[in-house]
């Protein structure tokens, strides 16, 4: 059912060697390839047939859901609307991701709109990897949208990674946090050549004692360009922090704009942003351990994007 190409893409975006255990939904070239549900995790196509609805029963603990998308059909632009209803007090890991293999001159793209409704006290880890490969010259586009709503005391940790090979990416992350909830986002993006990536983030801290930390790590090689915009809006007594670091190599360009908006007197918001080359003292240290300049650069970038 999975050919070598599919397996390669699945490995890259979901760390899957084969069909996963537990609940999963694998989408290939705009159509369902394979699906499994579990006692606590239900997956069904939505009424419009434009995506899936994943329902996780309250109290589900230590289960994972894999929902990778793979594309290898020239000229296809696949748009999908997925919804996740995470029951109260459940504890789950959701692994998404899109792998594109482009074999010819025609463009290929995927637009995944993911909406999460995370119930009271639920804990979700969401891992999303984007990757494109193949010998073709067609433009590979990935435009993910993630909308998260956190109920009281819910915790969501999101790891969003664009590993490489994506020519054009427009990412939108939106989150609304209820009382006592916590959202951690780590976004890692590496671009090279003439690639472009834009990330827009809007996090609304709506409930008392909600907390959020957004970390963005960008590596910009070749003539590529990355823009990062993040806004934290505080509407209650809350804590929010944005940390965005960009390493520029070659002729890369970067625009980073963190924004903080306090609409409540007890809001605590902060940000730190930096753009620059790899620090000289880091390179010197690793070279003094016997690494060549190129090896030192690789190790520093690997660590930075870890």
């Amino acid at each position: 059912m999975l050919d070598a190409l599919d397996k390669g893409l699945l490995k890259a975006v979901a760390d899957l060697e084969d069909i996963p255990k537990g609940a999963y939904n694998i989408r290939k070239n705009g159509r369902l390839l394979s699906r499994a549900t579990s006692a606590n995790v239900n997956i069904e196509s939505n009424a419009e047939g434009t995506g899936i609805m994943v329902t996780i029963a309250p109290g589900t603990v230590n289960e994972s859901v894999h929902i990778p998308v793979i594309l290898s059909q020239a000229g296809l632009y696949d748009v999908v609307y997925n919804a996740f209803i995470v029951g109260a007090a459940s504890h789950v890991t959701i692994i998404a991701g899109c792998g594109i293999h482009c074999g010819g001159p025609a463009p290929e793209g995927h637009e995944g709109i993911h909406e999460f409704r995370v119930g009271k006290g639920a804990r979700v880890k969401y891992v999303e990897k984007h990757y494109a490969t193949g010998p073709g010259s067609g433009e590979r586009t990935l435009n993910p949208t993630t909308k998260v709503f956190l109920a009281e005391n819910a915790q969501v940790e999101m790891e969003l990674t664009q590993i490489g090979g994506v020519d054009d990416a427009n990412r939108l992350n939106e989150a609304t946090l209820g009382p006592g909830s916590m959202l951690l986002i780590t976004e890692r993006v590496m671009t090279d050549g003439d690639q472009k990536a834009v990330s827009r983030n809007e996090i609304v801290l709506a409930g008392d004692n909600s907390r959020s930390n957004m970390v963005s790590r960008s590596v910009i090689k070749g003539n590529s360009r990355q823009n990062f915009y993040a806004t934290m809006v505080a509407r209650a007594k809350c804590f929010g922090h944005i940390e965005c670091d960009a390493i520029i190599m070659d002729n890369g360009a970067n625009e980073t704009i963190p924004a903080l908006k306090a609409e409540h007197p007890d809001a605590e918001l902060s940000h730190e942003a930096s753009i620059g080359k790899i620090a000289g003292d880091q390179l010197t240290k690793l070279m003094s351990l016997g690494l060549t300049y190129e090896e030192a650069v690789n190790r520093i970038i690997q660590g930075f994007l870890r």
Partner: protein
């Protein structure tokens, strides 16, 4: 072991009116470091101690003269090549990374990834806490912690020549003694030629030879006792050159 021959490091100072003016930070040094000996380099701030150490490691380019290591001219070698030749360097202000742990640095320094061998290394450098291995070498580490990591990565290289630039900065009083003992043990057990830049008497005492640098030259070479008169002598205060013409300037040494 390590020979410095007519070694110069010069910079061009710009002073507005006259354009550039050449200044020798390292001013024609000649010296031979003997294998397996422990050298302490001391001297006033700004006298050229760190600059000299960086010339030996290849971090600063030599302006004139030559450096020979184990009979070979290494003046034109890169930092990497010198490291591979057996020179290791502990930085005064160690680099802080993002996403790189102590374990990563040790593995890079040694090529070793097996847990048991890394633990052996920890024991050798006197770090008892195993959780230390997975500490991120980032801005959150305290000054003392990062210096211990720096020292450990230097020793882990099994160097023939180890250079430590002020290893005791940020280290508490209780740790300096063990640190001196550690470097002495490395010297005796592994015959590591050791160069320590320090103002700390514990390191000066431990040294076979004390080198006092002043204005880019060796003002004294010998044992600590012979250096004591100079260490207390105000005339080598290097504040002097800069207060000429400044009436309010005073030397506090």
């Amino acid at each position: 072991m390590l020979e410095l021959k007519d070694l110069y490091f010069s910079i061009t100072e710009t002073d507005g009116t006259n354009g550039g003016r050449k200044r020798d930070i390292i001013d024609g040094l000649n010296f031979t470091f003997e294998p397996g000996k422990f050298y302490a380099i001391t001297g006033p701030n700004g006298s050229g101690k760190t600059t000299l150490a960086k010339l030996i490691m290849g971090i600063n380019p030599v302006s004139a003269g030559a450096i020979r290591f184990k009979g070979k001219d290494i003046t034109g070698l890169t930092i990497t090549e010198r490291a591979k030749a057996g020179i290791a360097y502990s930085f005064q202000q160690p680099a802080r990374f993002k996403g790189i742990t102590f374990r990563d640095l040790l593995s890079m320094a040694t090529g070793i990834e097996e847990e048991a061998k890394l633990l052996d290394l920890l024991r050798r450098v006197g770090i008892c806490s195993l959780s230390f291995l997975d500490k991120a070498v980032d801005a959150k580490l305290s000054g003392g912690e990062i210096k211990k990591i720096e020292l450990a990565t230097t020793i882990a290289r099994n160097p023939k020549l180890a250079i430590y630039d002020e290893p005791d900065t940020g280290i508490d009083l209780w740790t300096i003694g063990p640190m001196v003992n550690l470097l002495k043990r490395e010297q005796t057990e592994h015959r590591t030629t050791t160069i320590v830049i320090s103002h700390n008497r514990a390191f000066l005492k431990a040294a076979d030879v004390v080198l006092m640098v002043n204005r880019g030259k060796f003002a004294y070479v010998g044992n600590l006792d012979g250096a004591l008169p100079m260490l207390t002598d105000l005339s080598i205060c290097n504040f002097k050159p800069c207060w000429e013409g400044e009436e309010d300037a005073r030397c506090f040494r």
